[in-house]
């Protein structure tokens, strides 16, 4: 039995993944499988909705890190919206807001997709 699940929705060509529950090293493979499914279906505009995500560890963050480059190479982006404050803190501690679009609302994230905007990985 898992305390994590992923729901799939679509909006104007954006694939939205609704994350529920707790994302840790045990449940991270489920998120990975969901992202792989998007890529196999040719969906590269991916929006993660964290409204019902209660917890995340670095294993969960690692999934985003492992896939974002491939998604951007294909012309898409992986944006993140509606994180709870405690979950956002973990993204923030590791410096994610510099490298990922993390937005307060799903509507703002969808607008950025509509405008074709995405962050660029700064060269170091």
């Amino acid at each position: 039995m898992s305390n994590f699940s992923v729901g799939f929705r679509q909006h104007n060509g954006v694939q939205i993944l609704d994350l529920h529950g707790e994302l840790d090293a045990h449940t991270a493979p489920e998120l990975e499988a969901a992202l792989q499914k998007c890529l196999q279906n040719g969906q590269y505009n991916i929006l993660i909705n964290g409204r019902d995500l209660d917890y995340i560890s670095s294993a969960g963050l690692g999934v985003f890190m492992a896939y974002v480059e491939e998604i951007r190479e294909k012309g898409g982006d992986l944006k993140i919206a509606e994180l709870k404050p405690g979950v956002y803190n973990v993204f923030d501690l590791l410096g994610f807001p510099l490298l990922f679009d993390i937005l307060p609302s799903e509507a703002e994230a969808l607008e950025r997709f509509a405008r074709g905007e995405r962050p660029m990985l700064p060269s170091s």
Partner: protein, 151 residues
């Protein structure tokens, strides 16, 4: 002053990470820690146990991990022991996030996160045991409830 001590043994499988988080959460809340401190402790113990499963025990799921919570007058300590390969913290270099993304790698951030979350982290090896202690200092806002007044 004597320590209050609770212990939990889990097998080295990620399916028990949730159990460990609940254990630490319950005792940290009973000790009157702030919600922020409780969240930090839950994440730190999860990261430490995940590293033990992946690195000390190389993914074997049937080895023991012993978790203990100790309450001292000025600090809350989570002590974690394993009998796997030891970790040398002096050889750890925190990876750069941009480099990991370019290499399409997701790992290696747990130790950095633990250090950011805790006030103090100690590692030692004693005979067959490795031990890590995750330490959160108690602040006046943490001690709203005396330990004796709660579960």
């Amino acid at each position: 002053m004597s320590r209050t001590l609770y212990t939990l043994r889990i097998p080295s499988s990620t399916r028990y990470l949730q159990t460990v988080r609940r254990f630490v959460e319950r005792h940290a809340r009973a000790a009157g820690l702030s919600e922020e401190a409780i969240e930090r402790l839950k994440l730190a113990v999860d990261e430490a146990c995940t590293n033990i499963i992946k690195h000390a025990y190389k993914g074997r799921s049937d080895r023991p991990i012993d978790v203990a919570v100790l309450l001292e007058p000025d600090r809350f300590i989570v002590r974690i022991r394993d009998q796997g390969e030891s970790f040398d913290p002096t050889r750890y270099r925190a990876p750069d996030l941009r480099t990991l993304i370019r290499k399409r790698q997701g790992g290696g951030l747990g130790v950095r996160l633990i250090r950011q979350l805790m006030d103090e982290v100690t590692y030692r090896s004693r005979g067959p045991y490795n031990e890590v202690q995750l330490i959160k200092y108690l602040t006046p806002s943490d001690t709203a409830l005396p330990p004796s007044a709660s579960a």
